[in-house]
Structures are given as structure tokens and as C-alpha cells.
Symmetry: C2
Subunit: 689 residues, 2 copies
């Protein structure tokens, strides 16, 4: 469970002396015989030695002087374009407290780490066991990000316009913008990686993922993704079994009885490959309730994981703001630190009056594009019918081509707009920035994916087409995904990584480092999550027309887990991954989808030809059927809400731990009243009310 | 602002000695020359002296021995059926800390009171200034409520079945059930009451209420009601002015232009007293946005008030459970106290699977009753037309009578059912119990009030009838309310209170007390709030058909404030009123209503004959109009949500204070790690996950 690997390969680094050796920190507690290289900074190839020297000096400078109090090593290669960074014990512990990470206390509970109280925490003597590799690397990144110029100054060796640093400007951002720093990556630990890979994606291990190992090695966001994927795959079994059952067993049973009621034989023939009404109903109601139970149970699991991984108490609002945050410099009234301040209401106004309308307008453009596509298609096919020439045949392709081009251009424009809108919202916390940025991209991507299906369902009301489209989407997407995610990477791996493959164990460390830096950057989890979300959409929104969705998804997820793991371990640079307490916006997205699914499924049931026949036989007017459908829909939504209410969002033991902490904080505050920071005491209370 | 009344009338009490004197508390800090009588306990007339003696001894006993450590006085009357209770300083301070009340700290901030740190709080030397009268009285009530039998015992002087106390049973509840205690009321302070009344409802004071004074004298819940009423009345000005403008100015302008478009003169004549389309629209859109702005601003005001009144930090979940709470005795894992425990999931299951369906069934019964009424009315009027005899004339009244009887019986049954359901949910906190109980009654009452109006709007689609009904409801309700709330109480006051009126200032104190106990009990704020809510419903749901709603409501509220104040001060016993941080469930009810109003208003616009004409002229099918209406509805809901998002729920300065406390608690917890209570440490962490 804990990482107790011997650090032999590091000892060579730790012991080396001379000009090419580790910098020293002026801290008596941090004398250690071994130093673990954590992060690799790659400089541009034409960087001046004086600039490199300056960067190294800033990184190793104490926090008071604007540095980050880390250990740096100039690397040992010819080019001199890399800096290796490690962290002394005192910096690791200080940032652990700043981040609000919880660690095992002597009484066995996870407790917010406190530097003063450090001796009461378990494993405190061994940083490799106290913090996970991912945490140590994130701490280094966090400290590098928070380096700020104390006053206006120039970066040595960089020409004036690019090299001018203003007071409080983020040094790292400036260096990246100036092109001095190419890349910052956490370093792999090949032994651990091999061990993790064996447990994770080897053929022998068919079920279960080493989640704790993933969390330790890759960090919070990635561990959450794989935990969710794991849980989701497991949860797919009930709908998959039901789907298989309905597809292969029910039709034969129902047909004998259905044939007697539905007298029209032509209708019955057409329905040959369609599920019967009762299986429609069963499938729809089951999938609606299933999605709620699944999401609620995942929330509990997520809360349990966040306790287990010590991230349930993160207090990002009390940390330094993220590097991109700007505002007037002032004293933070809560923490008393000097930092940029930006009023919350301004942000809210920008979100509400700028971002939301702009995103809405882009969604409108998607709809207009689709409407235009259908309009021109009808127009062109009309021309083709009337004139029937080669020219009109060529014209037939025009609407599709134009639509694809339009969609792509729109998507690219939107991606830029979304980023700029989120930048303009000026979020203080990294997580809040991610949340708003992801939401924007997510809504658009989702809309793009489902607009056609919704159009078919609600406007064309053509279930047969929907079924065809859905099955082809599911199968084609799977084949394409498997190909791009397995075959291409495998080939790339074979073809690209020859340079690294030739390295032997006893080659100099620096060549290994060099090789790591040359891999492509990990593109992030957005694509992975959106794939899951779109699939979940197919399943919950339209599953009742195509019961094989769940079995196909199950199959897909089984391979997905392995290919994602392989990709992450072998084909990309190791990404930084922050400690997080949940999936963030994705959780919300899945929940919203599960509520939209009620409307969609009720509509699909209403449209199904069998239901239409049944209601016509029963002599109900379309108005009455609609009212009935609305009532059923509201009842189902109520049932979902009751289910969601009954299943608590966190297990009792997590709730108790949380309340204990709350209670003890209250008590502690009373007992030891901290001198409060005087806020706004120029204004008397009356004027504020 | 603070209460610095001389306590002359109390000194007589404090100094009296002999058997009929105040009990003493074994606490060195609580020696005081003056004791303020706070609460009056009225016993049944045939109570045994030994029982009275026992009750007094329990109340004055220390907390350790199951008492409440209060001061008691046997009263000085002949009948011996009263006990007067006062509170020593140490008890007041202890409970202030338990309740989590905030008081002004030496640095000027409101800070959770802590006994250990008491010398740093302002006014700590004078309980009359440190705690408000209402707070002191609530503390006494709180302590009386929390008296529990330490072991199985018998109440002296009460026969066996009623007088048996089980261990941990609430002594007060038992005594009330056994009929020994008739009544517990906080005592009025006539001088303060007169002063408050002068500021509050005298003719001179036309605007503004002494909210701080109300909070100090009557306490939190009542002060919140009057603050809301005040704020609501003020907020009614914009819609009232718009309503008056539309009614008296717009029609004349619009008619000239409307006549040219609407060619049918009969239609135009019919519409004579109806507002035009554009005023409809303006009124509807305005009232929808207004209701959101109003609620959001009220939330800010409410947050500011809760800071001002020191109730923003109440931690009810860490207090003792409410008296009616039952469960298996165990150690509370959070606070470590021995108390009954009841798993949260059981409560959730009971709410979700029992309470919600039962409430739903009762709402169904209301609908069925209405449907039955309409059905029988049609049936009976059909008979009347065919047979036309005296018998059928009499029969014509039958459906109405039957419906009224049915509604009343249903209402009474429901009230009991709601109470029992909430009891069965076994809420731990008083506020949570109130919340769920009020919600149940509220939903039913509201449904009962609006079912007929909704029926007229959505099924009959008869706007003329709706307008008539609405105006008559508004006017009749106002007249009836004014009558019952002003005239009747005034007469009662004249007629009933002769006994008290005859008392002179120099009559013995005990007669004044006796007189106070004889007033009827205050019926609670439910009726007051529901009146406001129903009026708000008229305004926001249907205002666009009757623009004079807002001016009429404004008129009503002006008198409402005064009659409610008069009623509270003069006509009822003073009620206990807990310190609260907001309006509780009523806030939610108003917000929900404001969202329902969007649907209702869109539907009303769709139904309005002018809009129908316009769409017909424009050649739109009913389907297209419906789609358009749905789009408008969603856009309005989105606009409301954006507005609600933009306006923060609490003023910045309150948010900063709250975050400061959070931050300092976190810091304090780290610095002084309290020995944690070991929970569940028999189970290893792995088994829980």
C-alpha cells in the first residue's frame, strides 16, 4: 500500500558534488543524503547560461525573497537545456499544510496536516511514504507556479520587452510566454511505473484496478477518472443483462400475445425488429431509475475515496490565487495576505450577462446550422429531381460538406471563445476556473453530439431512423475509438520510441530524462470524460429504442480501461494532477443528463407505434395521451428525486468524520481565540445594513 | 438600542425572604441583589403541594442531577398554582454558548460566545444588556425542556400511570401530558412593552418598524416575520405603481391603436375592461423579474439581519436533541455526549417512502373533491332544468355544502396526519421538525387555496371568470381579514380585559402575573405567513389579469403590520421565540412560487383573447404558438436564474465575516489539536470502503 522502494538510482544524484550538484537550502531539518528528482524543466535550446542560472537561483531562493525554496540541479547533459527540481522536506510539509491535505494522524483518523503538530502524524519521518509521488510532484508545480516577482525587474539574458517582470507577476508564466521554458513535466519512476502497469493492464488482471496505486502515482484527477470508469463499468451490468434479455428472450414471448391485439399484419411485420410495448416500458423505467441509483451510489463512493485520499478538507479559497488571476492588490480580508482582489459580484455579472448569453448564442448557431443543412438538402434534392444532371449530383454533396465545414469552424471558434470568456470571468481558484471552462466546452460538445439525434426524435419523430443511427453511432464510435486508442498508439509506440527503447538501465540518468521530455504532452481528461458522457447519453436518453446499448457499452468500457491505462503509462509525458475531492463538473453533467433522460424517454414511449396503436384502440384523444404522458413524466421525476433524497450523498462514517472536524474546529476556535483581523472597521455597522 | 430599564419593580421580589422567596443556586458568581422573573409556569388548580415542591426542586437542581439550574419562586397568591422562574447568570451564559449565539466581541465583531473567554465580550457584566429579554426567556424555556429524568422514578403526588418517569424521559413533557402543568409563558415587561408599542403601531409612526426592538423583546422568529413583512411592503411599491399606471393610463392610449387592428367591434366591446396585450405582457414580464429581484434582495437583508442579531452561527446539530426525539441511547460520535441516536437513512426512507406519498395522496383527494363538486353541480343543475321543483332548488345547494364539509373534514384529518408523519420522521433538531411540519401543512393549504383558481385558468380557460374571482378574493379577503384582525380583537380587548384593566400599578405583582396567564396563547406565525404567501401567489401567479392586485396588497400590508403588532402586544400571551438565522421554509416557499409564476403567466398570456387574435391574424397554428410559448417560458426561467445567480445571497461583508470565522476555526483546530473521539475503530478502513 505504501511506497517503500529503495532509492538506489537516486543516490548517485544525491551524492554528486561540484558545480553540477544540487543546490542547498538554508534549513537545518533538510539535510538528507538522498535527493529525489521530481520535476523536469525543459528550457528552449538557445537559452543563455545566465538566464538558466537566474532561473535556478530563483527556484532555490527562500519564499520570502520571491523564490519557491526548492532544490535544483542543472542536469548533466551537453546542451544545458534542462533543470531538474526536487523538494526539501520543509517545503513539502509547508505546502501540504497550505493545500489542506489530510494525512493519517496518530489516532488513525485522516486529519488536516499542520506543520506545528507534525510529529503526531504517521510516517512523518519518511517523505516518500508520507506524501505520494503525485503529491510531491504537484507540490513542486504549485510552488513553481506561485513564484512571483517582488518588484519590477528584468530577466537576465532575455531582451527587454519579453524580459520585463512587473511586481507580483508570475515568473513562470512570464518565462513560458517568453519562450524560455518549453515544458515542465513530472518525472516518471520507471520501477514504480512497471509495477503499476503490471497490476493495471496486464492480461492476467481481468477485473479491478489498483486505484490507490493510481492515486499515489498519477494523482487525484486521474485516479478519480479511473475510479469512476471502474464504478460505471460495474454498474453497467444490470442494464446490460436486461438489454440482452429483452433483445433475445422477450420478443418471442410477446409476439404471440401481441399479434392478437394488433390486428393489422402489416404493422406487425414492420415492427418485426422492434421491441414490444412492455419491453419498451420496462427498459425505459428501469434505465431512468437505474441512472439515479448509479449516480447516488457513485457520490457515496466518491466521498469515501476523498476521505481515503485525504482530500475531503481542501480549502482552496484560503490559498494563494491561481497564477492567471488579476485584480487590484489589497489585503485579503479573510486570510490577511496581500494579494490581488476581484469582487465576486463583477464575476457573477460577467458570467450571467456575458458568458451565458454568448454560449446560448453559439448553441443557437449549432441549431441554425442544422436547420440550414436540412433546408439546403431538401432544396438540392428537389433540384436534382427536377434537373438530374452531373452538376446536381455534385451539388447533392454540398450541404453535407458545408455543414461539416461549418461545424468544425464553429467548434474551433467556440473553443477559443470559451477559453477567453472563462479568462475574463477571472476565477480566483484553479478548480473554479476548470469548472467554468469545462462546463462551457462540455455543453457545446454535448449539444453538437446530440442535436441530430434530438432532431430525429422530436421533430422528425422517426424511431426507425433513430434506431439505425444509434446502433451505427455506437458501433462506429467503438470501432473508431478502439482503433485510435489501441492500434495507432501501439504503432506510434513501436515507431516513435526506438530512441528510448535503445536506452539500457546503465545509460546515464540524463538520457532517460531527455527521453521522457520528448514524449507528447498528455491531452487531459476532457476527451475521456466526454466519451463516457456521450455514451451515457446514448444509454439513458435513447436506450429504450435500442436495448443492446448497455451490453455494447460494457464491452467498450472493458477495453477502454486498459487502453487508457496503457496510453497514460507509455505514450505520453506524465501529467501533473491536483489532489481533488470529486469529479467536479462531470458529476453534475451526468446527473443533469439523467434527469433529461426522463423527458426523452417519455417522449419516445409516446412516439412508439405500438403505444400509438394501443391508445387509439382505447379511444384516447392525442390531448389525453399527452396529459397522461406529462403525468407519468412528473411521477418519474418525483420518483428519481425521492430516490436521490433517500440515498445520502456520503456514507454515514464520512459524514461523522466531517461533523467531528466541524465540531472540533468550533471548540478550538472558542478555546483559543485568534486575534481577528479588523475588516472594514471604518464603516459603522449601521451603514452596512 | 440597549435595554437599560431600572429594575425597580423586581427589587421587591429579589429582596423578599422566608419560605416564599427565590431559590438559591450553589454558584459563587450568581449572587445578585436583583432577580428578574422571566417565565411563568401555571399548574393545574388541583395540584398537590408536594408535586409543586418537587417541580421547584427539580428546576433549581444543578444540571448534573437532571435539573436545569434555574431560580424558582413559588408565587405569592392563595391558589398556589404558579411557579415563577428566573435564571442565574452562569446558566444564562452556559446556554448562550450551547446555542451558539454570537455576541459583540471586544474587537467589534459578532463572535460565537464562549464561557471561558467571557471577559472579552462587551456588556458581559450586565445580563440585561448582554442578552435580550427574548433570549433570556428562550434560554429558560430551553433549559426547562432539557430536564430529563436520570433514572426511573415517580413524580410525587401524581398517581402511578401518569406519574411514572422513565430514565431520560423529558420531565416537562411528562408533566404537561399528566395535566400538572397547564401553561408556560414568558412574562411581559409592561414598561418595555409600552415603549415598544409606541414606536411600533401608534398613529404617529407611519413608516418603519423598530425591528431591533422587536427582536430584543419578542425574539428571532417574530422579528423575522416583521422584517419580512416590512421588506415585502416596501418592495410592493414598484408593482403597485405599475399596476395603477396600467389600469388608469394605458387603456386609453392603447384603445385607439388597438381598434384599428382588431376589426370585430363586439370583441373590442367585450374587452372593454380588460387590459391590452402590451400591458398584459409588460405586467407579466415585470412581475416575473420583480419577484426574483425581491427574493434575492430579501436573502441579502436576511443574512445581514442574522449577523446583526448574532444568529448566523447557530449549530443546532451539536446541541442536545429536541425533547420529542427518541432512539437508542448511545454516544453521539461527533460531540461524545450520551443521547438517543437515530440513523439518518431511516428518517430519509420515512420521508421519501411514507410522508411524500401520503401528502401526494391528500393533494389527490383535494383534486378529486373539486372534480366531484363540479361533476355533481352539473348533474344537479341538469336535474333542476329538467324537473324544476322546490326539491331540486334545495338540491342545487347540496354540492357546495358537501364540498365545504368535505374540504373541512379533509383539512382537519390532514392536520393530524401531517403532525403524526412529522413525529414519525423523528427529527433531531427543533428547526428541522418545524421545517418538515410546516412544509406539509403549507403545501396542502396552498393547494387548497389555489386549486379552484388553477382549475379556472388551465381547464376552463375562462379569463373573465378568473378576473372576477381574483378581484372578489382580494377584496373579500381583505375586508374579512381586517375585520377579524382589527375589529374583533378590539372588541375582545374591551370586553375581556376588564379584569386586567382594573389593575393599578400598585396592585400586587402576583395579580399582574395572574392576568398575563389568562390571555389566550399566541396561535403562531403560520396563519400570518400563509396569508402573505397566498397574497404573493395572487400577485405573481395571476397579476397580469388583474393589475390592481399590487396596490390592493400594499394597502392591506400597511394595516396588516399595525394589526399584527397590536395583536401580538395586547391580545395574546407572549410567545417563546427561538433565535433563528432566516425565515426557514417560508423563504423556499416564496421562491418556489416565484418560479411557478412563470409557467402560470405564460399560460395566461397564451389564453388571453387579444393574443389569440394576434396569432390568428399572423396565421400561426396553435402548435406553433405553443412552441413559441414554451420557448418564451424557458427564456424567462433562464433570465430569472441568471438574475438569482448574479445577486449574491449575502452581502460581501457578511460573507467575509463568515469566511474569516471558517478560516480561523481551521487555524485554531490545527494549532490546538483536540483529542479526537475514536469512532468505529473496530472496523478497519478497508471494510468501510
Amino acid at each position: 500500500k505504501t511506497q517503500k522502494e529503495p532509492l538506489e538510482e537516486l543516490s548517485a544524484w544525491g551524492k554528486s558534488s561540484g558545480p553540477n550538484s544540487w543546490s542547498r537550502v538554508s534549513c537545518p531539518c533538510c539535510i538528507s543524503s538522498q535527493i529525489e528528482p521530481l520535476v523536469l524543466i525543459q528550457l528552449s535550446e538557445n537559452v543563455q547560461p545566465i538566464t538558466k542560472q537566474w532561473i535556478m537561483s530563483v527556484i532555490s531562493a527562500p519564499v520570502k525573497t520571491g523564490g519557491s525554496q526548492l532544490l535544483v540541479h542543472p542536469g548533466e547533459d551537453m546542451k544545458g537545456d534542462m533543470i531538474v527540481v526536487a523538494a526539501p522536506r520543509c517545503t513539502l510539509l509547508r505546502v501540504t499544510e497550505d493545500l489542506g491535505l489530510c494525512k493519517t494522524y496518530q489516532d488513525g483518523n485522516m486529519t488536516a496536516f499542520s506543520y506545528e503538530d507534525k510529529d503526531n502524524f504517521c510516517n512523518i519521518e519518511d517523505m516518500q511514504r508520507f506524501l505520494t509521488l503525485a503529491e510531491r510532484q504537484f507540490i513542486v508545480k504549485h510552488e513553481l507556479d506561485s513564484m512571483r516577482a517582488l518588484e519590477d525587474q528584468r530577466i537576465p539574458g532575455v531582451p527587454a520587452p519579453k524580459g520585463k517582470l512587473k511586481a507580483r507577476e508570475s515568473i513562470l508564466q512570464k518565462l513560458e510566454k517568453a519562450g524560455v521554458i518549453r515544458n515542465i513535466t513530472p518525472l516518471h519512476d520507471q520501477k514504480k511505473l512497471t509495477a503499476l502497469g503490471k497490476q493495471w493492464y496486464s492480461q492476467k488482471n481481468l477485473w479491478g484496478q489498483p486505484l490507490d496505486g493510481i492515486q499515489a502515482y498519477f494523482g487525484g484527477t486521474i485516479a478519480y477518472y479511473f475510479s469512476f470508469l471502474d464504478f460505471y463499468t460495474l454498474s453497467l451490468f444490470p442494464p446490460a443483462i436486461l438489454g440482452l434479455f429483452i433483445t433475445f428472450f422477450l420478443p418471442s414471448i410477446n409476439f404471440s400475445s401481441e399479434n392478437t391485439t394488433a390486428s393489422e399484419s402489416t404493422q406487425a411485420k414492420e415492427d418485426d425488429d422492434q421491441p414490444s410495448v412492455s419491453s419498451y416500458m420496462v427498459q425505459a423505467v428501469f434505465s431512468m431509475l437505474w441512472s439515479t441509483v448509479f449516480m447516488e451510489l457513485w457520490k457515496r463512493r466518491s466521498a469515501a475515496l476523498s476521505y481515503r485520499w485525504g482530500t475531503f478538507n481542501l480549502a482552496e479559497q484560503f490559498q494563494e490565487p491561481r497564477p492567471g488571476f488579476h485584480g487590484e492588490i489589497g489585503t485579503n480580508p479573510v486570510t490577511g495576505r496581500l494579494e490581488p482582489l476581484f469582487p465576486d459580484w463583477k464575476r457573477r455579472v460577467r458570467i450571467g450577462l456575458v458568458s451565458v448569453p454568448v454560449v446560448g448564442a453559439f448553441l443557437g448557431l449549432v441549431v441554425m446550422g442544422m436547420a440550414g443543412f436540412y433546408f439546403f438538402e431538401r432544396l438540392v434534392s428537389g433540384w436534382h429531381k427536377s434537373y438530374d444532371s452531373y452538376f446536381t449530383v455534385a451539388l447533392l454533396y454540398l450541404p453535407s460538406v458545408a455543414h461539416i465545414v461549418y461545424t468544425n469552424v464553429l467548434g474551433n471558434v467556440y473553443r477559443n471563445v470559451a477559453l477567453q470568456l472563462t479568462e475574463a470571468e477571472n476565477h480566483r481558484e484553479e478548480s473554479s476556473f476548470d469548472y467554468h471552462h469545462t462546463t462551457k466546452v462540455l455543453v457545446f460538445t454535448f449539444f453538437n453530439n446530440f442535436a441530430v439525434l434530438f432532431h430525429i426524435t422530436f421533430f422528425k419523430e422517426d424511431l426507425a431512423l433513430l434506431r439505425k443511427r444509434l446502433s451505427s453511432l455506437l458501433i462506429v464510435t467503438q470501432v473508431v475509438n478502439q482503433f485510435t486508442e489501441v492500434v495507432v498508439p501501439f504503432l506510434v509506440d513501436r515507431f516513435m520510441s526506438t530512441s528510448e527503447r535503445n536506452l539500457k538501465e546503465d545509460d546515464p540518468e540524463v538520457d532517460h530524462l531527455q527521453a521522457q521530455g520528448n514524449l507528447p504532452a498528455f491531452p487531459g481528461l476532457f476527451a475521456e470524460y466526454i466519451e463516457l458522457l456521450v455514451q451515457f447519453g446514448y444509454l439513458s436518453l435513447f436506450s429504450c429504442v435500442y436495448p443492446l446499448t448497455a451490453p455494447l457499452l460494457l464491452l467498450n468500457n472493458f477495453t477502454e480501461i486498459r487502453t487508457d491505462a496503457y496510453k497514460l503509462c507509455k505514450l505520453f509525458n506524465k501529467p501533473f494532477s491536483a489532489p481533488v475531492a470529486n469529479m467536479g463538473v462531470w458529476q453534475v453533467a451526468f446527473e443533469v443528463l439523467s434527469f433529461i433522460s426522463v423527458m426523452s424517454n417519455c417522449w419516445l414511449l409516446l412516439l412508439s407505434p405500438r403505444v400509438k396503436d394501443l391508445t387509439q384502440d382505447a379511444g384516447l384523444s392525442s390531448g389525453q395521451v399527452l396529459v397522461f404522458a406529462v403525468i407519468v413524466e412528473h411521477a418519474l421525476i418525483a420518483a428519481k428525486m425521492i430516490l436521490a433524497f433517500i440515498i445520502p450523498d456520503e456514507p454515514d462514517w464520512v459524514r461523522i468524520k466531517r461533523e467531528q472536524i466541524e465540531f472540533h474546529s468550533m471548540q478550538a476556535l472558542k478555546k483559543q481565540r485568534v486575534k481577528r483581523i479588523q475588516v472594514d472597521d471604518t464603516l459603522p455597522l449601521k451603514d452596512k445594513l
